[in-house]
Amino acid sequence: MASGPLKRRITALGAVAAMSLVLLGSLILMSGAMQNSAQFGALFSILLLTNTIGLLVFIVLIGINVRRLVRQLRKRRPGSRLTLRLLVFFVALAVAPVTVLYAFSLDFLRRGIDSWFDARIDAALDDALELGREALDLRMRQLLGQTERMAEELSQGSPERAPLRLDLLRNPDSIVVASAWVPGPAQVDALRERNGAEEMTLIGADGEVLASSSRISDLVPHLPPEPVLTQARAGRAYIGLDPLADGDLYVRVAVPVNLGQTTQGRRVLHALFPFPARVNELAASVEQAYAKYNELAYLREKLKLSFAMSLTLVLLFSIVTAVWAAFYSARRLAAPIRDLAEGTAAVAAGDYTTSLPVASNDDVGFLVRSFNEMTRRIAQARREVETQHEYLDSVLRQLSSGVMTLDEGGRVTTVNDAALMLLDIADTAAQGATLAAVCANHEHLHALAGVVVPLVEEGRPQWQEQVTILAAEGRRELMCRGSTLHLGHGPASGHVIVFEDVTAIIQGQRDAAWSEVARRLAHEIKNPLTPIQLAAERLRLKYLRKLGATDGELLERLTNTIVQQVETMKTMVNTFSDYAKAPVLNRGSVDVNQLAAAVVELFRSGRPDAQVECHFDDALPEITADPTRLRQVLNNLIKNALEASPEGTNPHIIVTTTKVQHGLAEQVEIRIEDHGDGIPEDLVPNIFDPYVTNKPRGTGLGLAIVKKIVEEHNGVVTLRNKPQPDHGAVAVIRLPASGERGAADGEEHAA
C-alpha cells in the first residue's frame, strides 16, 4: 500500500531532478555560447527558450503549491501554518545569499565589461587607424604620381594591339578562351615591372581592355568598378585602398591617359599596387583590432544585457529550484506533524480508530508510534467502557423496576425501558431534559413533579415516596425511591430514582379488604333475612283471614313489600358474596370474536332499539380463559354502555376486537365504546372500586367484578372518557393470547 505514494514521490523527484539537470546543462551551454558565438550561436536561442520554458514550468509548479497552501491556510488545515513558517524560513535561507551573490556578480560583470573599454584605448585605436591611413595615403600619393607618370609615358606612343572588349568579359553570354588572350604590349609590361605594380591595364574609351599586364596569375584582370572608370574618364584620377579577396590590401589607381587627342583622351590606365608584406600585416592587424574593438564597443550594452540575462536566468533558476525544494521539504517535514494534528483532531472528535503511518524512525516517528499506541489504548478502554455500559444497559433493561438517573442539573441521563413504561413517556421526551420539564410536558406526571422534583432539587441523600399517576392504562401507584449519586469520594454528581409499580399490590390489598367486608356483610345481613321473610309470610298467612277486607289488603301489601325487599337484599347479598369469594376458573380456549358476537346478539334481541356495531378482527388469536366469567365481563360492560346512553335516545355502541403487539407478546384487545355522557371526571381514578357508580340504582360492583375477572385472566382493563370532541366512554380490555404467559397457568385461583 505504501509503495504507491513512495513511487509517485520518487517519480516526481526524478522528473524535477532531470528537469533541473537539463536547465543547468542548458545554462552552462548558454554561458559557453556567450563566450564563443561561432560555436554556440545557433544554439543560443534554443537554449534561451529551453531555460525560459523550464523556468515557467517551475514557476507554474510553485504557483500550484502556493495556491494549495493558501487554500489550506484559509481552511485552517492542521500543519498549514507550520508549512508556511518552514517555507518562509527555507526560502529566506536560500534566496537571501543567492540574491546578494547575484547583485555582486552583476556589479562585477558590469564593471568587468566596462573595464574592457577605455577612452584612451579608444583614442589609441582611432589614432592607430588614422596613422595607418596616413601612412598608406603617403604611399598612395606616391603611387598616384607614379601612375600618372606612367600614363604620361603611355600617352607618348599609340597603341597598336587589337583591343579586348571589356563588355565581352562582363557578358555571361560570351566565352573568353585563355589561349586567345593577347598579352599586353612590352611597354606596359616594362612599365609595370619597373614601377612595381601588381597589375596594370589600359582600358579604352568603350571599356575595352587595350593592354594588360599582371603579376597575378588570374586570367581576368581585376577591373575597376564602373564609378571608378567614370571618374577617371572624366579626367579625375581615382586612388583607393582595395582589400582583395585574399585579404591583402592593394592600392587601386585609375588615371586618364591623355594622348592629346579628344577621342583618345578617355582611355584609362588602371593599376593595382601591392603593399609590402609587413605593411599588409600591420594594416590587417590594425584593421582587425579596430573592427573587433568597435564591434565590442557596439555590443557593450548588449553583452551586459546578455550576461545579466544569463545571470538572471541562473538566479531565477536557483530561486525557483530553491523555492520548490523549500515547498517540498516544508511539506515533507510538516506532513507527519499535520498527520498528528489531524489524528488528534479525529480523536478529539471521537474517532479512536485513527492510526498514522510511521514514515521514519526519528523523533517524529517515535511520536507517531506513541500516538498510535495512545489511540489503540483509548480505543481499547472505550470498548471496555462500552461493553460495561452495554452490560449495565442490558441489566437495566431486564429490570422490572424503572430506573432513571439524573445529572447534577437534574437532566435525565439514563432511563430504562421499565421506567419509560411505568411513567408512560417516550424515550425521546426524556433524554437530556430535566425531570421537571418531563413532568411539565406530561399532564399525567404532574403528581410526580409535585413530589419527586422537590426532593431531587433538595438533594436529599435518600428518600422514598409513593405517587399515584393516571397512565393511559389507568391509575398507577408508583413507589419512588431516590438517592444521590457519588462518583468516588466527591460531592453528589446526580440522582438515581427507582420506580416500582405497586398498583397490583395495593389493589390486591384493597380487593382483599373489600372481599372481607363483602363476606362479613353478606354473612351478617343474609342470616336475619330468611327469618324476616318467613315471619312476614307467617304474619300474612295467620292474620289475613282474620282481618277485614281493607286491613287484609293493607297487610297483603305490606307483607309483599317486606318479602320483595328481603329478596332484593338477598340478591344483593349474593352478589356481595360472589364478589368476595375466590371462584374456580374453568379455563379453556376461547374465541373472543365468537363470545363477543353471542353476547352482542343477546343484547340486540333484548334491546331492539339499540344499535350495536361490531368490528371484529378476523386474525384474532384465541385466548385461554373461563368463557363464563369472560361472558360476565362483556355482559357488564355492554350493559353499562347501553345504560350510559341518555334517556330517550337510541343507544349506539361499538364493539371492536383487535390483535395488538405488546413488546414480544401478542394480546387481544376488546374495545367497547358508547356515545353517552361519559364518566364524571372525579370518578375516573376510582371507577373500578366497589360502590363507585354514578347510576342511581347500581350496586357499584359491576365494574369491580369486571376488573376482578380481567385480572384473574392476567389482563388489564381501563375505562376512560373519549377525547373531545367525541362523546362517551371507552372500555378497553387487553388479554394475553394463547401461548403467552397467562395461558400456561392452567386452572388456578385468582386472588
Partner: protein
C-alpha cells in the same frame, strides 16, 4: 465561475498580446520590398533579375557602421502553382550576401558568399543599392529541369538574425527593427 472567467480572461489577454506582437513583427518585417523580378533564359541558363528596396533600421545601420556584418539570404523557388493544393517545388536555391564595413579603407564591402565575389562601395547607400539590384544571377541550366507550362517563380530576401553576434540575437528576436524580410514575391514565368 469567477475563477473560470478570470482564467479565460487571462488566456484571452495572452492570445491578444501574441496576435498583436505577431502582427507588429509582420508589419515591421516588410522592410525589404521586392519591386520587380524576372526570370530569363540566356544560353540555356536561367538567370534572375530583381529590383528591390531595402529600408535599413537605425539599429541595423548603427551595427553596420560599428563593424557588424549583416547577412542576407536570397531564396529562389521555381514552382508549379496550384489553386487548391500547395505548390510543387521544381527547383530551389539559396544565395547568401554579406555586407560589412572595412574600416581602414572606409568602404562597405558587399560579398556574394558562394562565389566569393566582392564589390566595394564608398558609402553604405551605394552598397545597399548594389544589394538591391540583382542582375543576371545564374540559377540553373534550364535543360536539367522539366519546366511545366504554368511555371512560376518566387523569391524572398531576408536578414539572417541567427548570424548576428550571439549577444544581439535575443534582442534581435524581440525587436521589430531587426526583422527584415521581403516575404515571398511570386510571379508567373512567361516563356
Amino acid at each position: 465561475m469567477m475563477r473560470a472567467s478570470r482564467s479565460s480572461r487571462l488566456l484571452a489577454l495572452v492570445v491578444t498580446w501574441a496576435l498583436v506582437w505577431a502582427s507588429v513583427c509582420t508589419a515591421y518585417a516588410s522592410d525589404i520590398v521586392i519591386e520587380e523580378a524576372a526570370l530569363n533564359e540566356h544560353n540555356g541558363i536561367l538567370v534572375l533579375d530583381a529590383d528591390s528596396h531595402f529600408d535599413f533600421s537605425a539599429d541595423a545601420i548603427e551595427a553596420l557602421n560599428s563593424g557588424i556584418p549583416l547577412y542576407f539570404d536570397l531564396e529562389v523557388r521555381l514552382l508549379r502553382a496550384r489553386r487548391y493544393l500547395w505548390d510543387v517545388d521544381i527547383f530551389t536555391t539559396r544565395r547568401r550576401y554579406a555586407i560589412e564595413r572595412h574600416a581602414l579603407s572606409n568602404q562597405f564591402v558587399l560579398t556574394e558568399l558562394i562565389t566569393g565575389e566582392r564589390r566595394l562601395h564608398r558609402t553604405l547607400e551605394l552598397a545597399i543599392e548594389d544589394l538591391s539590384r540583382i542582375r543576371r544571377l545564374p540559377l540553373v541550366e534550364a535543360a536539367t529541369l522539366e519546366l511545366p507550362p504554368d511555371l512560376a517563380a518566387a523569391i524572398r530576401i531576408e536578414l539572417d538574425i541567427n548570424a548576428l553576434p550571439a549577444p544581439m540575437i535575443p534582442l534581435a528576436y524581440v525587436s521589430p527593427g531587426w526583422h527584415m524580410s521581403s516575404g515571398w514575391y511570386q510571379w508567373p514565368v512567361v516563356r
